[in-house]
């Protein structure tokens, strides 16, 4: 269901603490929007305000152009999946899934039919008659998802739904959740502090920090073109270098502590902050290198190795193939993919 949801700066203060103060966004209809941020960035409060479980101090929330800011949560028709499942312990699996239909006055047979369909969608129809304490954490989260979907909500809100699960289970459920949400084409808002979840599930990604939106865009846009040093370092790993852009003989050049690089026309002159990701620095043969450095440490990560290379006074994070991992103390030649350099606004 392509519900259009719009947050017009809903604000929330708890005493002197400001939880959310600058969040205006039109959520892509029929798509998944991931809200990513560190603890205390206001992402869960934002979700709770959209769900109607927290009253905003100001601003508004619109659904299909209608202001629902003061509409009680129970009248919004939003499905909500909680981090801790929040299943009703006194009801069986199928009774939990039926709950939203029961309070809407659906008859027993229709309730059972829809609940069975929802349980099939999450692949646990065989658990219908189990008690909640008789099923595993992963199964409980499937029940929570089935319960939120069974009454055909016009918007699905997910608050860190996989964070209580172990890594392997989380990976499997993440893939399945992505497939199901894409099949349903439901407008969904997915709050998480896990970058992989956010980037792999979200058609759109919002990075929050200190109660406000730091950057919004597609995951690829945000990852490759972060607008601030915070986004650059929060989403993935990044080397932040201080440099200066100078115009010399009609060409713009970026001076870094260990080398100079040509920059495209239109790059503003002056001191700047430069981001380069570890995967965009390569260890190359000496003849192809732009600069040299000394390996300070290397960490084997399975599919690759992460090196720390000292160059020009900077400790650069560099990704290397795990086939020939340089040992600490080794001198290496390095090359930066110029097109991947990103000049960022300075943060004061």
């Amino acid at each position: 269901m392509n519900t259009l949801v719009e947050a017009n700066n809903p604000r929330k203060h708890y005493g002197t603490v400001t939880a959310v103060h600058d969040f205006s966004h039109r959520f892509a209809p029929g798509k998944i929007t991931a809200i990513l941020g560190p603890s205390g960035s206001g992402k869960s409060t934002t979700l709770a305000m959209i769900a109607g479980l927290v009253d905003p101090d100001g601003g508004s929330v619109l659904v299909n152009e209608i202001d629902i800011t003061r509409l009680p949560a129970e009248r919004r028709d939003f499905g909500l999946v909680f981090q801790n499942y929040s299943l009703f312990p006194h009801l069986s699996v199928v009774e939990n899934v039926e709950f939203g239909l029961r309070v809407r006055g659906f008859g027993r047979s229709e309730r059972r039919r829809r609940a069975s369909l929802a349980l099939e969608q999450v692949h646990i129809p065989h658990l219908a008659n189990r008690r909640i304490h008789q099923i595993s954490g992963g199964e409980q989260q499937r029940v929570a998802l089935a319960r939120a979907l069974a009454f055909a909500p016009r918007l699905l809100l997910l608050d860190e739904p996989l964070s209580a699960l172990d890594a392997k289970l989380r990976e499997g459920l993440r893939t399945e959740l992505g497939r199901l949400l894409n099949e349903l084409s439901l407008t969904a808002i997915y709050v998480t502090h896990d970058q992989i979840e956010a980037m792999s599930l979200g058609h759109e990604l919002i990075i929050m920090r200190g109660g406000r939106i730091e950057q919004a865009g597609t995951p690829i846009e945000v990852y490759t073109r972060p607008s601030t040093p915070f986004v650059a370092t929060f989403l993935g790993s990044a080397n932040l270098l201080d440099g200066e852009c100078l115009r010399v003989n009609g060409q713009t050049r970026l001076l870094l502590p260990f080398m100079a690089l040509p920059m495209p026309e239109g790059t503003p002159s002056g001191p700047c902050r430069v981001m380069v990701r570890p995967e965009d620095i390569s260890i190359v043969a000496d003849d192809d290198g732009q600069f040299r450095g000394e390996v300070a440490s290397s960490v084997f990560l399975g599919h690759q190795a992460r090196l720390t290379v000292i160059a020009g006074g900077y400790a650069l994070a560099v990704d290397a193939s795990n086939e020939a991992i340089p040992l600490p103390g080794a001198a290496v030649s390095l090359r930066i993919r110029n097109e991947k350099l990103r000049i960022l606004a300075r943060e004061d």
Binding site: A51, G52, L53, P72, A73, E74, R75, D77, F78, G79, L80, F82, N84, Y85, S86, L87, F88, P89, H90, F99, G100, R102, V103, R104, I132, H133, Q140, R147, A148, F151, L157
Partner: protein, 206 residues
């Protein structure tokens, strides 16, 4: 022939009913919506448990002497039993996140009465059962307040026991004691069983 109910049975059942009506909403309010001073209120409710029965009875007689009789006995019993019910309720409500379940129910479309009858009360049924049995056992075995605040026919079984011990034969009082224990022992066993079952459910629950 007029049927004579067991002494104390009506009183104990009345206590259970009033305690449920008072302590369940009060426990919910204290656990779910604490306010400045709510901790003090909880402690004050427990205060009568630390007072000797004779002190409490004398105080009630001095203040409400004209009500002496079954109503004043009920009031005395309630001062002793409400704390038990309230403690069981607040402890249970704090042992699982009732606010979380309520939020889930709200998000699923449940109105306030639906949340109350479909989520909150069903999750409190064990606690209400344990609390009711505790209240029944305390009221059933209470002597001081029942003896001192009553007028006329003994209101509770212990008062009858006292009567049989002082005025009748040891055989009669022995028989009366047996009847007393026949009622109270199953209640105590039920409290133990339900209490254990509840903690086990809470540990396993979602």
């Amino acid at each position: 022939m007029k049927r004579t109910p067991s002494p104390g049975l009506e009183l104990a059942l009345g206590c259970v009913a009033v305690c449920l009506l008072v302590a369940v909403p009060a426990g919910y309010a204290l656990a779910r919506h604490p306010f400045p001073g709510s901790g003090l209120v909880e402690e004050l409710v427990l205060l009568p448990l630390s007072l000797p029965g004779i002190t409490l009875s004398m105080g009630l007689l001095a203040a409400y002497g004209e009500l002496r009789g079954p109503l004043l006995v009920l009031a005395g019993h309630l001062l002793y039993t409400i704390p038990f019910m309230l403690r069981v309720m607040t402890a249970t409500l704090r042992s699982f996140d009732v606010g979380r379940l309520e939020s889930a129910a709200r998000s699923l479309g449940a109105s306030l009465p639906q949340r109350l009858f479909l989520v909150i009360l069903p999750n409190l049924r064990h606690a209400m059962m344990v609390g009711s049995l505790l209240v029944f056992a305390v009221s059933w075995g209470e002597f001081n307040v029942s003896f001192l605040l009553n007028r006329g026919r003994p209101q509770t079984f212990p008062a009858v026991l006292y009567d049989t011990c002082t005025n009748q034969s040891i055989q009669v009082s022995g028989a009366a004691t047996t009847i007393f224990l026949a009622i109270v022992i199953p209640v105590v066993i039920a409290i133990q069983w339900l209490g254990g079952k509840e903690s086990s459910d809470m540990e396993q629950g979602a």
